[in-house]
């Protein structure tokens, strides 16, 4: 009986309207699968696929530990994200750090805190000098506005050979 009813549901009527139930079932399946995809996208967004979340926020260290970088792997065009560079050197020294790679083409540096003692061009990127505190630490906070599209490569290095390289992706 239930089987018969199911068959009746599948049968395409010609009156009062012309139906195509095979197609309609495809539409309903598309709606259902589409809903799963939407939920999956929501979960991925919560996890940070489109920046800000466990999938996106990264903390990288150089081999000797003198450079630490907190960055977002994923950015969105038009939104601002922080980049923190933690340097460790000798107490009260002025530390030199080079920010190299093609990242300046994809990002607009909106703000640098604290203000570097000096800055200069260096190849594709730039060099900055920052004043370290009594423990020899200096934190550099940059706020980056994503302006490009696609992958941009960054390399942060100090003259004593420590370096951190990473990629950042900007979504449209």
């Amino acid at each position: 009986m239930a089987d018969q009813r199911e068959q009746d549901d599948h049968r395409s009527r010609q009156f009062p309207v012309r139906e195509d139930m095979a197609f309609q079932h495809k539409v309903w399946r598309f709606e259902r699968v589409g809903w799963y995809v939407l939920v999956l996208l929501m979960i991925l967004t919560l996890l940070g696929l489109f920046s800000r979340g466990p999938l996106s926020s990264r903390d990288a260290q150089s081999a000797d530990g003198s450079i630490g970088v907190e960055y977002e792997r994923f950015h969105r065009n038009g939104s601002t994200n922080p980049l923190v560079i933690r340097l460790q050197g000798s107490p009260n020294a002025v530390l030199e750090v080079e920010l190299d790679g093609d990242w300046l083409e994809g990002f607009d540096v909106q703000d640098v805190q604290p203000q570097p003692v000096r800055s200069a061009a260096a190849g594709q990127g730039l060099k900055v000098w920052v004043q370290a505190d009594q423990q020899g630490r200096a934190n550099l906070h940059l706020s980056l506005l994503g302006e490009g599209l696609g992958t941009y490569q960054s390399r942060i290095a100090t003259p004593n050979g420590a370096e951190v390289s990473f990629n950042q992706f900007i979504f449209p």
Partner: protein, 147 residues
Amino acid sequence: MDSVLRAAAMYAVLMVLFKIAGRRSLAEITTFDFVLLMIIGEATQQALLGDDFSMTNAFMVIVTLIAIDVGFSLLKLRSSWVSRLIDGGPTVIVEDGRILQGRMRHARLVEADIMEAARSSQGIETLDQIKFAIIERNGKISVIAKE
């Protein structure tokens, strides 16, 4: 260049999303549907215009949207396959006073939805008085009463 790309991308994304939502979801049946539609419009506006508030940009976005829309309607005239893909087709959900349960479940409808449409359009009181109830392509339920 990017005004055309933005508008085309948003058109495509919205089209797919509204197909997923189904024909009934945003057919302005409840007040909340209306509010939801306004919020979607608000969120879309940013993506369409970006940070360019020039008249040229607004003009090009509108031109693109209308061009795509007219293009699709021309395509629908030529091909019944495209027409069906975009607009869908009507589905019978009540036949001679009997609800087709499987179809109702797939269409995410309950009996109250049918009776609401029956009362408001035909003044029908019971299910037995309905000859046919049909979900139209635009998501509204039309009801045909028994003689």
